[in-house]
């Protein structure tokens, strides 16, 4: 409760929260702000107004102008909000779950299991994150591209269920599949920070009296771990989660920008900025193709980071002590 009050009274985090609320409102009311065409098959595909390659400047019909291929930027920015929330939140949930599991097992059981799990974590961290994500998504796209993917298809369906709410009994829409490969790649290389932090915290909590007390009264491993240790060690995870949601959205936007995330014409900010690459010499005339989707990404990520920044100051007891002393 104290945390929430702090978040609402601190101007920095208040700006962050208001921004997030604004984005949430835009995401929810997207069908009213930018109504899709009546015969649209998929509302996430940006409607086109002709096929001319030259971007059109903002006008009454297209408030933010159009990109190359006449995709409406306003529509894309509005519906892209939904994509950003989905991608950011879903990746955060999965990475946090993986990291929490690895970290808590590692810390609680210790010994050789801890050693092995931590070495594995280190190996995943040995890769430059974006390079690893690019690599894995290009491998996954090759695999998913051939249609048969066995266990991996199962994974994709699970992720599709959480992300798009699509039925696991039907084939995954190829447009969504490409987004899922990017997300999967980020998840595989994005969980390590949680594992390390939660491990460190549980190691501290494990020695506390309440943990000893639980053991004395005969509570089982699982019970001690989930009921006593995790709740006490979990706060820093919130901080990382908030900061990382922004970072994941950035990473996904980067994949999309390179052409590895969302497909051409999908309502995704990174993908829309991708169009600008062909117009670099004349960007001064076509400023709107970078500025509007770019502003959307920056504000969205900024919002998560602002909240995360204040959360960190509030929740991290080490930092709390520091601020008090300073």
């Amino acid at each position: 409760m104290k945390v929430i009050i702090k978040l609402l009274t601190n101007p920095t985090s208040l700006i962050g929260i208001l921004l997030l609320l604004a984005f949430a409102v835009i995401a929810i009311s997207a069908p009213w702000i930018a109504p899709p065409a009546e015969n649209a098959r998929d509302p996430y595909m940006i409607p086109r107004d002709g096929f001319s390659s030259t971007p059109e400047s903002p006008s009454d019909l297209h408030p933010f102008g159009t990109t190359e291929g006449q995709y409406d930027i306003f529509y894309g920015v509005v519906w892209g909000t939904r994509t950003a929330f989905r991608v950011g939140v879903v990746i955060t949930i999965f990475t946090a779950i993986i990291g929490l599991t690895v970290g808590s097992i590692s810390a609680y059981y210790g010994g050789w299991l801890d050693e092995v799990l931590m070495r594995i974590t280190e190996i995943f961290q040995a890769f430059p994150f974006l390079l690893a994500a690019i690599t894995l998504s290009s491998v996954l796209q090759t695999i998913y591209g051939r249609g048969e993917a066995g266990v991996l298809m199962f994974l994709a369906k699970g992720l599709a269920l959480v992300t798009f709410g699509s039925s696991p009994f039907e084939n995954v829409d190829p447009v969504q599949l490409q987004i899922l490969t990017g997300m999967l790649a980020i998840i595989v290389f994005g969980w390590m920070a949680y594992a390390r932090v939660i491990r460190g915290n549980i190691l501290i909590c494990r020695e506390e009296e309440y943990a000893m007390a639980a053991r004395v009264v005969g509570a089982g491993d699982m019970r001690i771990l989930t009921r006593h240790l995790l709740p006490n060690a979990i706060f820093p995870v919130l901080v990382i989660a908030s900061m990382n949601t922004g970072a994941y959205v950035l990473a996904f936007a980067a994949l999309s920008f390179l052409g590895l995330g969302a497909q051409r014409g999908y309502a995704d900010w990174g993908q829309m900025i991708n169009f600008a690459r062909n117009w670099i010499p004349s960007l001064a005339d076509h400023w709107h193709i970078v500025t509007y989707p770019g502003l959307a990404v920056v504000l969205f990520v900024l919002a998560w980071n602002l909240v995360g920044d204040v959360l960190r100051d509030t929740l991290d007891p080490r930092l709390r002590g520091r601020n008090g002393a300073a």
């Binding site: 994150f129 996954l140 936007a253 980067a254 590895l260 690459r277 001064a284 970078v290 920056v298 300073a326």
Partner: protein
């Protein structure tokens, strides 16, 4: 100290083997057929050709045999030569580079190294300076402004910053063009009269005493270097700031002040030197940031380095090239982190005097 370094050294091979395993695991997600067509320069166009390649390279053998072959190479059953083997530097054949992956890396590495070295200078120096500034003016307006500056930098995608920089300084003002050299300059650089000592344009131009080419190379570097640096100042600033805040509260700082030293001397001489010790650890993060940054930066600025090659290869699903570049970068990163750890051990008396 010796034991500390020794312990770090022991872990390195484990990490490197782990990295190769993970890379190989990604590779083996592909079917033997897919790998066969990726591995070989030209797939012969006759029936059963692919099956022959699979048999020849043992792509249907158990996974640990394949991993061994992939690591150390294997004997070609026809010619008796040893083929493949990551340890021998054979990373496979790059379809889009139209030569071996190792060759492509060798060709493109100098450009990336040049960019990275130039970017590291402002990234570290300005990052640290801003961090000190922030700490000295703790909770004052300067600190708040720098905090906003760093969070915004932290939230800015590389490609948005880069494209806006291009929009202003290239499309609008025409000051700093994309690419690596202007046409006239690259003609001179490729001619015989110009000796390419290092393959890095700025260095070579100076060594050849061609200041016009040096100036041209610098003009092409300004925007990508700024892009790489700006986005990482936030991180440098944050670490330096918190380390500096810690240091400023130490007793020896009070002692230095009570000796009557000027505030400037106290902060920069006594404070910064001690505050910089934890900052060394960020060296590893700088490396990661550079690796991640160059992919996008080089792509936007049309800069012919490893990063733009990786992006291109990934887009055309040239998996062998992508895996090769990533493996190469990861190994550099692991070694770089070791160097950082050793430096940290040397700098911090608490660790240096331990063993």
């Amino acid at each position: 100290m010796a034991t500390y370094i020794f312990r770090r050294m022991l872990i390195i091979p484990i990490i490197i083997i782990g990295v190769t395993m993970l890379i190989f695991a990604m590779l083996s997600l592909l079917t033997p057929y897919e790998r066969a067509s990726l591995y070989v320069r030209d797939v012969p166009k006759r029936q059963g050709a692919i099956e022959d390649i699979i048999a020849k390279y043992g792509l249907d053998k158990p996974i640990y045999v394949q991993y061994w072959h992939w690591m150390v190479g294997q004997k070609d059953s026809d010619t008796g030569e040893i083929i493949g083997g990551v340890l021998r530097g054979d990373l496979g054949f790059s379809q889009i580079g139209a030569s071996s992956v190792a060759e492509v890396i060798g060709r493109r590495m100098p450009a990336t190294a040049e960019l990275a070295v130039w970017a590291a200078v402002p990234m570290i120096s300005i990052g640290i300076a801003l961090g000190v500034l922030s700490a000295v003016h703790h909770n004052k307006p300067v600190d708040q402004i720098l905090r906003v500056f760093s969070i915004v930098g932290w939230s800015m995608p590389v490609f948005v910053f880069g494209l806006i920089a291009l929009m202003l300084f290239y499309a609008k003002l025409g000051w700093f063009p994309p690419g690596r050299l202007s046409d006239w300059a690259s003609q001179i650089v490729q001619s015989d009269a110009f000796v390419r000592y290092t393959q890095m344009n700025t260095v070579d131009a100076l060594l050849n005493l061609r200041f016009d080419i040096f100036w041209d190379a610098v003009k092409h570097l300004v925007l990508p270097v700024t892009t790489l640096a700006y986005l990482n100042w936030a991180q440098m600033l944050r670490v330096t700031r918190s380390s500096m805040l810690d240091t400023l509260r130490q007793d020896y700082m009070t002692t230095a002040r009570s000796k009557g030293l000027t505030e400037r001397l106290v902060v920069w001489r006594h404070g910064l030197v001690n505050a910089l010790i934890p900052v060394i650890t960020i060296g590893g993060l700088v490396l990661i940031a550079l690796f991640n940054g160059v992919v996008i930066t080089e792509t936007i600025f049309n800069y012919p380095g490893m990063g733009s090659f990786l992006a291109q290869a990934a887009l055309s699903l040239d998996v062998i090239s992508v895996l090769g570049v990533t493996l190469f970068s990861s190994i550099i990163l692991v070694v770089g982190n070791l160097v950082v750890d050793v430096l940290y051990g040397l700098a911090d008396p608490r660790i240096r005097l331990q063993g």
